[in-house]
C-alpha cells in the first residue's frame, strides 16, 4: 500500500511537468502579450516592463527560469497585479473557492444520498418515479442556467436572499446550490442503482432473515456496500466542482480562483494562468489518489500491485 502511494506520487512529477510545459508554450506561442492592452505606453516603458518580467529573453531561457522557480514553489510576480506575487494572490483567493466547493459538495451529498436511498427503497413505486425523474432532469440543469434562475426567483422576485457577494452566510446559499445541484442529481442516480444492485446480494438476505429492521438494512448494510461507485464518481466530480466554480463565481461575483483564472486568461497574466492550472492539476491528482485509496478500504478485493 505504501509502495503504491509512493509510486503514484512519483508519477505526479512527469504529469505536472508535462502540464506546465504545455501551458507555458500554449500561452507563449499565441499572439498578444500582457501589456498590449495598455495604450500609449512609451517604448522605453514597454521595454523596461519587458526586461523586468524577463519577457525580452529567448523563450527557452524564460521556460527554464520559470521551471526553476516552480520547483522552489516560487511562481513569480503577477503581470497584471502590480505589487503582488502569485503566491500571495492565490493564498488570498483559494480559500474562497475551497469554501464554495465544500458547501456545494455537502449539499450534493446530502440531497443525492437521501434521494438515491429513498428511491431505491421504494423501487418502482410513485415515490421512485418522482425522484428518478427529478434526477434525470437535474443532470440537465447546469449551474449557468440554475444560478440565474435562482437569483431571479429568490433575490429579485421574493427578495429573501442577496443577489451576489461572498461576505455573509446568506450570500453563500444560492451559489452553493447552483454549483452542487447537478452533482446531487448524479449522486442520486448512482446511489439508487448501486443500492438496488446491493439489495440483491446474499448478505442482505441474511440480514433480512435475522430480522434486522428495514431502516437498519438500508442505511447500515446496503448504503455502505453501495458507496464504491459513488467514490469513483467523486474523484472527477470534485475536480468538476472546482472548475465549475468558474461560472458560479462569475455569476455571483465571488472573489475566488475560478473567476481569477478567467480574468487572467483575458488579461494574459502568464504567471497567474500557469500557477492556477498547476494548482488545479495537483488538486485533481491528489483527489484521484485519495479515491484509489478509499476504494481499497471499501473493497479489500482490489489489489494495488
Amino acid at each position: 500500500m505504501r509502495r503504491y502511494i509512493i509510486r503514484k506520487l512519483l508519477l505526479f512529477i512527469p504529469v505536472l511537468l508535462a502540464i506546465a510545459t504545455l501551458t507555458f508554450f500554449l500561452i507563449r506561442l499565441a499572439p498578444g502579450g500582457p501589456f498590449d492592452r495598455d495604450k500609449n505606453v512609451p517604448a522605453e516603458v514597454q521595454q523596461s516592463l519587458e526586461r523586468y518580467y524577463h519577457l525580452d529573453e529567448p523563450l527557452l531561457k524564460q521556460y527554464f527560469r520559470y521551471l526553476y522557480g516552480v520547483v522552489r514553489f516560487d511562481f513569480g510576480p503577477s503581470f497584471r497585479k502590480p505589487g503582488y506575487t502569485i503566491n500571495e494572490w492565490i493564498l488570498m483567493r483559494l480559500p474562497v473557492s475551497i469554501e464554495l466547493g465544500v458547501y456545494s459538495l455537502i449539499f450534493a451529498l446530502l440531497i443525492g444520498l437521501i434521494c438515491g436511498t429513498v428511491a431505491a427503497f421504494y423501487q418502482n413505486t410513485w415515490i421512485d418515479t418522482i425522484l428518478t425523474s427529478f434526477a434525470a432532469l437535474g443532470i440537465c440543469i447546469p449551474a449557468f442556467v440554475l444560478g440565474p434562475i435562482l437569483v431571479l426567483i429568490f433575490a429579485l422576485h421574493w427578495e429573501i436572499l442577496p443577489v451576489a457577494g461572498w461576505d455573509f452566510p446568506q450570500q453563500k446559499i444560492l451559489p452553493s446550490i447552483s454549483l452542487g445541484f447537478m452533482y446531487s442529481a448524479y449522486i442520486a442516480r448512482i446511489i439508487r442503482s448501486s443500492i438496488i444492485e446491493v439489495l440483491k446480494q446474499d448478505y442482505i438476505r441474511t440480514a433480512v432473515a435475522k430480522g434486522s429492521s428495514p431502516t437498519r438494512i438500508l442505511f447500515i448494510h446496503a448504503l455502505k456496500g453501495s458507496l464504491q461507485p459513488l467514490v469513483t464518481f467523486l474523484g472527477p466530480a470534485i475536480a468538476g466542482l472546482l472548475t465549475g466554480s468558474f461560472i458560479v463565481e462569475t455569476i455571483f461575483q465571488i472573489p475566488g480562483l475560478g473567476r481569477e483564472f478567467v480574468e487572467a486568461t483575458f488579461n494574459r497574466d502568464y504567471t497567474m494562468i500557469i500557477a492556477i492550472v498547476l494548482l488545479y492539476a495537483v488538486l485533481i491528482l491528489i483527489f484521484n489518489l485519495i479515491v484509489d485509496i478509499i476504494q481499497g478500504y471499501l473493497d479489500p478485493r482490489i489489489s494495488y500491485e
Binding site: 500554449l26 500561452i27 447546469p142 440565474p148 434562475i149 429579485l156 461560472i247 478567467v262 485533481i284
Partner: protein
C-alpha cells in the same frame, strides 16, 4: 459509415416508449427550427430598434431582446447552432476515440498498456482550463471550437471502444479472418470496427449532450460561438446580463436548453438499454 446507419435503424424499432417519445420530440424541435423562421419570415438577426425589448405576446411568442430581435426565432436558430456544434465536435471525438481505442485494443501487449496509460494521464488534466486558454489565446474560431471540444471528449470513447475490441478479438470470426490470411488493417476496418457500431452509436448519443453543455459553458464565458451567430449558450449569457429588467430573455432559452438536453439524455439512456438487452 454505411454500417453505422444500418445499425442505427435496426436499433430504432426496439426503442422503449421513453426513447421513442424523446426521439420524436427531438425531430420535431429540429424540424421546427428550420420551418418556423421561413413561416414567420423573420431572421435571427433582424433588428427592430424602435420596438426594443418587449414581453412575450402573440406576435413575438418569446418576446424580443434589446435590439428588438424576436427571441423565439433566435432560440430556434440557437438550437440549430448548438446541435451543429454538438454533432461536429462529437464526430471529431468519435474519429479520434474509435481509431485510438480500436488500435490500442487490437494491438494489445505493451502498445496497449502505453496507449491506455497516456489516456489515464490525459484524464487527470484540467481540460476545461486548456480549452479556455485555447479559445482566448487563439481567437474564437468556429472550427477551433469543434477541435477543442472533440479533443476533450474522445478519451471516454477510446476507453469504451478498447474494451469492446478486446472482447471482439476473441471471437471466432476474427480467428477465421486471420486463418484466411487477411491483413490486420483489413480485419480491423472490415471486421472489428463495424461490429463496434452498437456501442459507438449509444455512446455518441450520450456524448452529444455533453458537447452541447461544454459549448454552452464556453459561450457563457464569451468564448464559444460569436455574435451575430448565436447558440443556446450565447442566448443564456445575453439573458443573464439583463435579467433584472427583462427576465423572459433568460427564462425561455434556459428552459429550452434544459429540455433539449433532457431529451438527448433520455434517448441515449434508452438506446443504451436496447443495446444492452441485445447483447445480454
Amino acid at each position: 459509415m454505411k454500417f453505422g446507419i444500418n445499425k442505427l435503424f435496426s436499433l430504432l424499432p426496439e426503442l422503449n416508449l421513453k426513447g421513442r417519445l424523446s426521439l420524436s420530440l427531438l425531430i420535431l424541435i429540429i424540424l421546427s427550427s428550420f420551418i418556423f423562421p421561413v413561416l414567420l419570415s423573420t431572421s435571427y438577426e433582424e433588428q427592430n430598434l424602435q420596438l426594443g425589448a418587449v414581453k412575450p405576446s402573440l406576435t413575438h411568442w418569446f418576446g424580443t431582446d434589446l435590439l428588438g430581435r424576436d427571441l423565439f426565432i433566435r432560440t430556434l436558430y440557437g438550437i440549430r447552432v448548438s446541435f451543429w456544434v454538438g454533432l461536429c465536435a462529437t464526430v471529431v471525438a468519435l474519429i479520434i476515440g474509435v481509431t485510438y481505442g480500436s488500435l490500442s485494443g487490437y494491438a494489445g501487449g505493451w502498445l496497449d498498456t502505453w496507449m491506455m496509460y497516456i489516456v489515464d494521464i490525459l484524464y487527470t488534466m484540467p481540460f476545461t482550463m486548456f480549452v479556455i486558454i485555447l479559445m482566448t489565446f487563439f481567437g474564437r474560431n468556429f472550427y477551433l471550437l469543434f477541435i477543442a471540444i472533440g479533443a476533450v471528449e474522445w478519451l471516454t470513447m477510446a476507453r469504451i471502444v478498447r474494451g469492446k475490441v478486446m472482447s471482439i478479438k476473441q471471437q471466432e470470426y476474427i480467428f477465421s479472418a486471420k486463418a484466411l490470411g487477411f491483413s490486420n488493417f483489413r480485419i480491423l476496418f472490415k471486421h472489428v470496427i463495424p461490429n463496434l457500431m452498437n456501442i459507438v452509436i449509444v455512446y455518441t448519443t450520450l456524448t452529444i449532450p455533453q458537447v452541447i453543455l461544454l459549448e454552452a459553458f464556453l459561450s457563457f464565458l464569451g468564448l464559444g460561438v460569436q455574435p451575430p451567430m448565436c447558440s443556446l449558450g450565447v442566448l443564456i449569457r445575453e439573458g443573464v446580463e439583463v435579467m433584472e429588467e427583462y427576465p423572459w430573455l433568460i427564462v425561455f432559452p434556459g428552459i429550452i436548453f434544459v429540455f433539449t438536453l433532457l431529451l438527448l439524455n433520455l434517448l441515449g439512456d434508452s438506446l443504451q438499454t436496447v443495446s444492452n438487452e441485445k447483447v445480454g
